[in-house]
Amino acid sequence: MSGRVVRLDLRGTTGEEALDQTWTLLSDQRQADLTLLLLVDDVTALKPHQRAYEALVSSRYTDELLCVAVGPIGGNPQRLEVPGSLAQAAGILWVPDLWGIDWRLAAAAPALRRQRGQNGEGALAHLLDTLSHEGIFRRTCELVQRSPGLMTNPGLRLAGIDGGQGDFAQAFVSAAAQRLTTAAGRAPDLPVPQSRRPAAQGVRLRESSPLANAVEQARSALAEASAAADELGETTSLFAATSAAGAVTAEAGQSLDELRHRLEDLFSVVHASTGLSSEQHEVIERAGVVLPDMEEFDPTLTRGSIEKYIDQGLSAGTSLRTLVEGLDRLQERLMPRGGKTRIPELHQACPEALSARLRLPDAMVGPQPWMPVIGLAASAMAALTPFGPASGLMMASLWTLLVALTVVRGPGGRLARHAAALACNAVAGVVGTTAAWLGVIEPLPSVAWALLLIAALVLAVWGSLVSWRARTARWAAERGLDTAEKAVDELLALVAKAVQDWTRAGASIAAADAVARMSAALDRVADALDDQMQRLGEGRALPRTRDRFVERYLADLVRVAMAPRLRTLASGSIAEHGEKARRDTAELVTAWEEHAAEHGLYSRPPFGKELVVESIDTPGEELPELVTAAAADPHDAMWQLCSADDLPLLDLSAAPSGVVRFAPERGRGALEDLLPAGTVWTSSGRHAGTLRLVPVRPGVAYQSWTAEPEQEATR
């Protein structure tokens, strides 16, 4: 079984028409499951529709039948004849008045009228909606059939329905105040609409253009400088001609500077925060940057994003002003970044200090502190030859010359700057010579002094080469050539980003314009709601509880007011969009007010969507309201579906004859311990409340098995 409650409304039909409708339902192949049937009929038509009831009861399709008989009972005394077929098979709920009263279940309790409309179904609509849930239907059927008397009169307490008079103005003011409260809710995310074009992978420069040449020059100068720095450390660089490493490195620094300045100039001129002008296009073209096709604005992307954002915000209860602020922030994010905003990034990628280190390289550091020791040892070894101090002094001189060579061959090397170090090395040589000469007592064999002399020479040359390589390596590292090469790549990456900004500028600014129009329109919708709230709220106090139905309809109103704005978001002035949104909103509110006056506050207005309660989540803040409604004391004031004149027909001694409590299954975990046992858990997302059944006095309604005269005539 599907568990679906089928409704059959026979009001306003003759006996034949009712029978026809009944046969139509019973023979409808699309209605697979008629086991749960909710019958609605006029109380004055129960007898004339007897054959229709018999058809229903005798068919094998129906199982549980609940009849809602609508209308007052006439006559003096008031008595109602109920066909036996119906009385035997169905539970009967009697609703004498569509609008009902607020009434406490007590004999002397006064009744308070509820707001009436010209037409419409008032409380009946809510009763039928409640009985349309399987669990509630079955429990009600069970209780009604157990109830004394043939009929019962229902009373309702529902969550989300204002406990007051159902006044449109009050409910609207409360809902509008909630929707306009600045702090209400957090705006949903609103990302920048993503371009469908894939991100560019690099920048294209026209061959032989000024920028391409500057890049090429910088790269080749840096490569040359790197090569020169590598060569500087080799042995030949020490003993061959003076290296040009310093000059080559300086040139590389100038090329890097030149490249960065060109890019700075380009970004300064092409500072397009409102899209590229034709002059700026020319400047880019002359610089040699190849621009891809300019991106076109796609209004569908922007429309989709904004529509989703507003829809999510409205569903989440976010205030309109907060949504407007979110749109304003999106507008700011969409504004194209002018080229000037990228200049600090240029300096970050290629700092001034980096190019300065290349352009103005420091001189190579001087001889290391350990070098005099080498000189002392070499001179001492040379002094041990038969030539004595002469060879030692010769070695000292040679050593000093080698040290001087390491100074003058290095970039920026000047002897005068390192005179002290040279003198140190010379003195060390003399000291070594003297120490060896004074220390030798007997001459060494010829093989020994020959070997010593060679060793002294080797030591001197080796020492000078070690010193040279260490100092040149340090000089090259300090230049930062690797970093400089990466800097060129980073500069080009920035140009690629700038190109992306430029090609998207037009589309971005058009999107920003579209967002600005929608932001202004939504702001004016809020203004219009505020105006209406002031108009309707004058002299009224806000109701104590929120009316969720009205709030949902208000959200639908905002969606409908914004729909034509969203369709035309790509054009029009802000004033136009704002004024139309304001006017449409005012018209919709007026139409809703008229509709509510005619059909009742909870009747769906023309712009309202059917409330799919299953789709409404139960936020935690609503739980107390649900508990209050579902755990209501049946003797407390409730919405009784009768008028004050009908109260004498109710049997209060046996009241209530039944109480059905119901709450949403989704909230069961939080609610189960708070509600009485026997609560019906419904699949509805937020349907909660209490239905009480007050029996009608015995004798008011009586069973009858006689046929109507028209039925007698057809036999």
Binding site: T274, M335, G338, A512, D513, A520, D523
Partner: protein
């Protein structure tokens, strides 16, 4: 007096030539709260059958401030018209078409304002329109200063925007450059030197720059300017508005602001303010005092012929003609 369809209006145009027209339609057109003028949209049919839509300004009944306001509208309109001369009239300032200043029911006729007050949309305009707004507003301020007057009450409610150009309207608080400053304008658009307790010196061509700068910031960012250094947070605006919100001595002139936007002076070089207006103004006030003595503030120096009071500022400045 209520203007009604069928009524005949007799007035002078900006060249002083008498014109007649018949009112064929009337509509209300409310001015901002606090204005002492009543405004209506009229359709006039001239003698030659030409229809024309105009804005009819008249003083609010029983208020002398209304007559002052009307005077200022007329005289500002005449100065601008005569400065413009044979050049095309700029769209960035409102345009006086005619006036009747001496009759029992004085009024002024202006060309309908363009667009809507920028304040009616909360200062919102499209991002693509912001540059055009800045340029046209500053051009309007330049025209006003070139005419030798200061508006003194620029705000979002008397600067209109039609999607292409700003238009400065509402000259009811305008005065001539060189007149002593007074408390005028509405916060937060009042320049510091126009606020109670801070009024000093004489009106200059820089008096409107403060409000214009503030309005540019408001329209460009959607935010109110609370501190002068907020401008530095907006790189594009920092260059344009630099120096405006500091001391008046360091405030740039409107021509400097136009230079910052690389814009040429919109006022033709040969256009000069009409100094004959001085004499005309004296005659105007004499007639007004005769016909409507209650509208003339007896505590303020009147302007009889030949006895214009000297300003307290250096003598080379213009003589004080208005209050």
């Amino acid at each position: 007096m209520t203007t009604q369809p069928g009524q005949r209006l007799v007035f002078l145009d900006v060249r002083g030539v008498q014109e007649e027209a018949t009112v064929t339609a009337v509509g209300e057109d409310p001015l901002p709260v606090g204005s002492h003028l009543r405004s209506r949209s009229l359709t006039l049919e001239y003698v030659d059958g030409t229809p024309n839509e105009v804005l009819h300004l008249s003083p609010e009944l029983g208020r002398s401030a209304g007559y002052d306001a009307l005077d200022n509208e007329i005289l500002a309109g005449l100065r601008l018209s005569r400065l413009c001369g044979s050049y095309p009239y700029p769209s960035c300032v409102s345009r006086l078409l005619g006036y009747e200043a001496h009759g029992e029911h004085p009024f002024a006729l202006l060309a309908p304002y363009r667009g809507e007050p920028v304040g009616s949309t909360g200062g919102r305009i499209l991002p693509t329109e912001k540059s055009a707004f800045q340029r046209s507003l500053l051009a309007g301020v330049r025209w006003v200063s070139a005419a030798g007057i200061a508006h003194r009450a620029l705000s979002p409610f008397n600067v209109h925007w039609d999607g292409m150009s700003a238009q400065i309207t509402g000259f009811s608080d305008a005065t001539i450059a060189g007149a002593p400053r007074a408390v005028v304008g509405v916060p937060p658009w009042q320049a510091p030197e126009q606020r109670p307790g801070q009024v000093n010196g004489a009106v200059t061509d820089k008096d409107d720059v403060w409000a214009a700068g503030r309005l540019i910031y408001y329209v460009s960012t959607g935010r109110d300017l609370v501190r002068g250094d907020q401008v530095c947070d907006e790189p594009d605006l920092a260059h344009l508005l630099g120096g405006i919100f500091g001391p008046i001595g360091e405030r740039p002139s409107v021509r400097e602001l136009l230079d910052r936007l690389n814009l040429a002076d919109p006022v033709p070089r040969l256009a000069v303010p009409d100094t004959d207006l001085r004499q005309w103004r004296a005659e105007f006030l004499r007639l007004r005092a005769c016909k409507h003595p209650h509208t003339v503030d007896r505590d303020k120096p009147s302007a009889p012929s030949g006895t214009t009071p000297k300003p307290s500022e250096p003598p080379r400045r213009r003589r004080r003609l208005w209050r």
